[in-house]
């Protein structure tokens, strides 16, 4: 076979980064295609290390720019003047939703993708999560179980560097951890109270992709220790948090097997009806609009959940008139996100003589406790809480009365300790939550834009209600005062854990991908980003994408070597 490359990897975010690392380290000549511009680690982190007064407008984006260019992206907490170059311009990258059914699609188109922007929480799934669909019948059975992915979690955790504590929890398996970050005094107190009063619950320090104690492997890649600046989204030239640019890209580059093509949009996958294989991709130069085809023996789509699905839907051929590898008709269906924006916040009256130092880029985590040993009648599946304690600074003045010397003196001290808990819950797979290509509207490169339709249904709504009630109950039980529960409705997508739409499964009739993220219909096509997910669990998903991608990459190379592919 005469191909330009052994493998083409589309997309350079967390999944694409892992694909290029694993494939090049196994000797394949790999072409990485990224639709956005090149980003240089360190050099392009233009806001890094700057104090508020050193940023234009103290970090605020001009109002007209926000409303014209970032109408959706501005919903993301991480968007500010120092990070806006890592977010898409909504005006240039449209998609369609129904007016009463918003979906917030938060995107970063550059080398490194959203690996630069993620919140870095890293949790394993458990046996319970992979068995959930089969147990209650929502969605289709996962074709893998925890034992299939466990060694790959080990593999990616060791390389990425995940800080955390070993807890021995069945629903949140321990991993290969760097030393955990510290809890502050109020967090330690809340942990004690919750674990004492709710024996089935525990509160742990967040597990996050930060180097608390870099290993030799990390240091060799030029990565260093986390400095608790908590400005990660601006980029970190220490490489203290895991991103494509800090970790997987340099690892792939040093094999000399990697070629990178940036500013290049993959329009579709080329399918050869006679060979019954994908032969390459059609690429549009994002700047010149020049079009060309590039070929490879295997294709890895890692263009993000909706990005990869859009490419597949747009890859039409005689064999696949409705999108490549879509004989099942499942492509685009079962979109999920995590449900959130429900929880509680409160004040803690004690520890006035205690304070903290540093801006910890991490919080606490309360792993799921519903529907584990007994069945909760109110809803299926479960949720976990993220949160933390702190003493707010001058920002609390927004709701403070007074002016003058008195106000200034009050604000010189930190406020009382506060504590917040915010739930992240599982969304059931539902084929009515879906994306499809629009027949009329095309983007500036002539690619049909996505329609997105995704709404919360009864199970999610019931879960959100319990989240807020539970948070209130736990905070009250911990001696908190002014406990304020909330249950705001956030648009789906805004948890930025969108997944599904090209799910894995046993049966080619009901799923797009097999247990190795390999398309049932097209053996040399692999899809390893969030689109492969058959359910959502309630844990932050990136670590699972890493493990699935590494596993699929190893399998693909094995199949190439065995001559199966």
């Amino acid at each position: 076979m005469n191909s330009d490359f052994d493998a083409i990897v589309v997309g350079s975010g967390i999944s694409g980064g892992w694909a290029i690392k694993e494939l090049t380290e196994r000797g394949l000549k790999v072409l990485l295609i990224e639709r956005g511009p090149e980003t240089i680690h360190g050099e392009d982190y233009i806001g890094e290390g700057k104090a508020p007064w050193e940023l234009p407008y103290h970090g605020a984006i001009p109002e007209d720019t926000l409303s014209k260019e970032y109408v959706i992206q501005q919903q993301c907490y991480a968007l500010n003047d120092a990070t806006k170059q890592f977010f898409v311009n909504d005006h240039q990258h449209p998609y369609i939703t129904k007016k009463d059914k918003p979906f917030s699609w938060i995107r970063g188109y550059q080398l490194g993708g959203r690996s630069l922007l993620w919140y870095r929480q890293s949790y394993r799934w458990s046996e319970m999560d992979f068995a959930a669909n089969k147990l209650d019948g929502y969605g289709i059975d996962w074709p893998i179980r925890y034992r299939d992915i466990a060694p790959w979690y080990d593999h990616v955790e060791t390389f990425a560097g995940i800080s955390g504590s070993k807890e021995g929890l069945e629903q949140l398996p321990d991993g290969q951890f760097l030393p955990p970050m510290e809890m502050n005094c109020v967090e330690l107190e809340v942990k004690k109270q919750i674990e004492h009063q709710f024996p089935d619950r525990s509160m742990i320090i967040g597990r996050c992709a930060h180097l608390t104690e870099p290993t030799k492997e990390h240091l060799e890649l030029g990565r260093g220790q986390c400095q608790s600046r908590d400005q990660c989204e601006r980029g970190c030239s220490f490489g203290a948090y895991f991103s494509t640019l800090s970790a997987t890209l340099p690892a792939a580059k040093r094999t000399n097997n990697l070629t990178i093509l940036t500013d290049s949009i993959v329009q579709s996958v080329v399918y050869d009806d006679t060979k019954k294989r994908a032969t390459g991709v059609r690429v549009i130069d994002a700047i010149t609009n020049e079009r060309r085809e590039l070929s490879a023996r295997i294709i890895f789509l890692c263009a993000s959940t909706l990005g990869s699905t859009q490419i597949m839907l747009n890859s039409r051929s005689a064999s696949f008139p409705n999108g490549i590898a879509n004989s099942s008709g499942c492509l685009g269906l079962n979109l999920m996100d995590h449900i959130f924006e429900s929880g509680a916040s409160a004040e803690y009256p004690g520890f006035k003589d205690k304070y903290f130092k540093g801006r910890r880029p991490n919080g606490i985590y309360i792993p799921r406790y519903h529907n584990i040993s007994s069945r909760d009648e109110r809803f299926l599946r479960g949720f976990g809480f993220q949160g933390g304690g702190k003493r707010p600074s001058w920002q609390r003045a927004k709701s403070m009365p007074g002016i003058g010397v008195n106000l200034k003196e009050q604000l010189r001290k930190p406020g009382s300790w506060t504590f917040s808990l915010g739930g992240f819950g599982e969304m059931l797979p539902d084929k009515r939550n879906r994306v499809w290509l629009d027949e009329n509207l095309k983007d500036k490169w002539g690619i049909p834009v996505l329609n997105i339709e995704c709404t919360l249904r009864d199970n999610e709504k019931r879960m959100l209600k319990v989240m807020s009630e539970d948070a209130k109950e736990m905070l009250e039980a911990s001696g908190m005062i002014n406990v304020k529960p909330y249950n705001n409705s956030a648009p789906p997508g805004l948890a930025i854990h969108e997944m599904g739409t090209a799910r894995m499964g046993h049966d080619p009739k009901t799923s797009v991908l097999n247990k190795y993220n390999q398309a049932h219909d097209v053996p040399n096509l692999f899809v390893t980003d969030g689109s492969c997910m058959a359910s959502s669990a309630c844990q932050n998903p990136s670590l699972t994408y890493m493990a699935l991608t590494a596993r699929a990459s190893a399998k693909a190379v094995e199949m190439l070597q065995e001559g199966i592919l």
Partner: protein, 195 residues
């Protein structure tokens, strides 16, 4: 003034002095810069870019009432009024600009009704009584004037505590904290972190 945004054309006097110091190879401590800067005669640099002179003075006076100079820099020392003028000129949408002009006009109207003078011509006591009437942060914000003042007050406070003076002189700022320490002793003499 050190908190001003450096744009291509606009260079505050303090920045000019800082650069001159660098050119001469002299390192001038920050605290000296303001003294040097204030010894310059008023120049174009003090001209507001968006607000008229009277509104600019009104803004300056309200900023001073909200965060006055004590043993530490106040809002004027931090150039908060200059910052807000720049924000209104460059950062704000048309809608926000209109809102601020209307809000200032409203404050002047209130001053005229209550004290028969425009705000800047009122006595300090009159100004404080007027601002305290507007500062209903604890109450209900049942009229547009109070809602406007809440926004203006927040603009002043956030401008101050994100300025170099507010964030790193009045409060503490740690550029490179190192390892997070969650439970350290804190005494009444200690200051808060600004972020």
């Amino acid at each position: 003034m050190g908190s001003l945004i450096k744009t291509d054309q606009k260079f505050s006097r303090r920045e000019a002095i800082k650069s001159a110091g660098l050119l001469l190879g002299v390192s001038i401590p920050l605290s000296q810069l303001d003294i040097l800067a204030s010894s310059f005669a008023a120049s174009k640099d003090d001209d507001p870019q968006f607000l008229g002179r009277k509104n600019f003075i009104l803004l300056q006076q309200i900023s001073d009432l909200v965060i006055p100079r004590t043993d530490t820099p106040g809002a004027i020392d931090a150039g908060v009024h200059i910052f807000i003028d720049l924000m209104l000129n460059e950062w704000a949408s048309e809608e926000t600009k209109v809102k601020y002009l209307a809000g200032f006009k409203d404050i002047n109207n209130m001053a005229k009704i209550s004290f028969d003078a425009s705000f800047i011509d009122c006595t300090k006591t009159q100004k404080i009584s007027l601002i305290e009437r507007l500062d209903a942060a604890n109450a209900k914000f049942d009229n547009d004037s109070q809602i406007f003042f809440r926004d203006l007050k927040w603009f002043i406070i956030s401008g101050y505590y994100s300025s170099e003076e507010g964030a790193s002189v009045e409060l503490n700022y740690d550029r490179m904290p190192g390892k997070y320490q969650g439970c350290l002793p804190f005494s009444e003499k200690d200051k808060a972190w600004s972020s």
